[in-house]
Subunit: 191 residues, 2 copies
DNA sequence: CGCGTAATTGAAAAGTATCAACACTGGTGG
DNA sequence: CCACCAGTGTTGATACTTTTCAATTACGCG
């Protein structure tokens, strides 16, 4: 549920230590909006430590959480390739440490460093691989199944992530989430 | 709604004409299952002409259509990077002409041809960019909005694609789709 | 013409959202 | 030390949306 990419993280850490590229480390407190939707940016970020959420807010003011990002996940990288505005907002949940690249550096790395190129390509492929089945599953299974699934993937999700975020991740209201949790507890399927 | 990628198509056509790589052209009739879910394959395909659907079927036997693929769209490419089983099935809707690459050739091209590398990377980024807002929109808007949106994006969708596929694309039942269409017609918002 | 597939429609059942009230928590200032 | 406040979580009742099921009709094709 909280995605990570240790391979990419360790490679980028290594590159950063070389000091050859202008990769800087940045810190954010919790609940910090790092990227807004429909804006233009000039940096790519990679999480060194902490958890963030990536979400789309629609015209009705609802938030739909795309994924929870953990160590080694990048964000703001799509725009380098598409040259368009950001589609998601990204907000820190816990304290966050990130590596930040300028677009120019990121592009140059992709072009000249074959291993980096491959890792980024793989990360993109993984993102697609992750999104597709998730939305399909959510859509065609009742809420309770989705909650159980969450429970399996990330046993103590409730301790780290607010109910509101969990509901937005599953794509339901908090009320429905609570009802599902209650029912599962009653049936002894939870905890 | 039916996605295309003319840039990639024309570049691959060009490469194929050179005859340097083993890119072959294949033909499929309509309703041909080209890729099954959870299988291992060894080829990447790129649509030269025609329309296909890419869908996930879940344990309940429901199909959730990820996207409709038109000219220039590739499929079966994710597995090259992830090395895992296919997550989607792909089935031709119309008659289909495709270019097929072996994994080895595809990998070699990605590695040695900078332009190809860039186009593939961009195609992956576009796929993500496409999926995210789509699911968000579908989830947080009533069915009628979704139908209207389809109407705008692709005015005569009903002529090419079956009602069942359209419903599976929006993630609703055919019954609900019909009700929405009826209501929109009554309100004079359709046709 | 007859067959199979796709499309249409109604009625009942199931699933979710909405709204509104109330409890719990941690932090702030009087 | 207490009162207050904002944010978060909990719960019930009701209204609404969507699915399910089943029955019928329309269409394309050998």
């Amino acid at each position: 549920m909280i995605r990570t990419n240790s391979e990419l993280l360790s490679y980028v850490s290594q590159i950063q230590r070389l000091g050859k590229w202008g990769i800087v480390e940045e810190e954010f407190g919790p609940k910090n909006k790092i990227i807004e939707q429909d804006q233009r940016y000039s940096q790519v970020h990679l999480i060194k430590e902490g958890i963030a959420k990536c979400y789309i807010s629609d015209d009705n003011g609802r938030e739909f959480i795309q994924e929870f990002l953990g160590a080694g996940m990048e964000f703001g990288e799509l725009e380098v390739f598409t040259g368009r505005l950001s589609i998601c907002a990204v907000e820190s949940i816990t304290h966050l440490t990130v590596f930040s690249f300028s677009y120019a550096d990121f592009r140059a790395l992709v072009k000249t460093d074959a291993r980096f190129n491959h890792l980024v390509m793989k990360a993109l492929a993984d993102k697609i691989r992750y999104k597709a089945p998730r939305h399909s599953y959510q859509h065609s299974h009742p809420i309770e199944d989705n909650v159980l699934r969450l429970q399996e993937l990330f046993p103590d999700f409730a301790r780290v992530i607010s109910k509101k975020d969990i509901a937005n991740y599953i794509g339901i209201t908090v009320r429905s989430l609570n009802r599902a949790l209650k029912q599962l507890e009653g049936a002894g399927k939870l905890k």
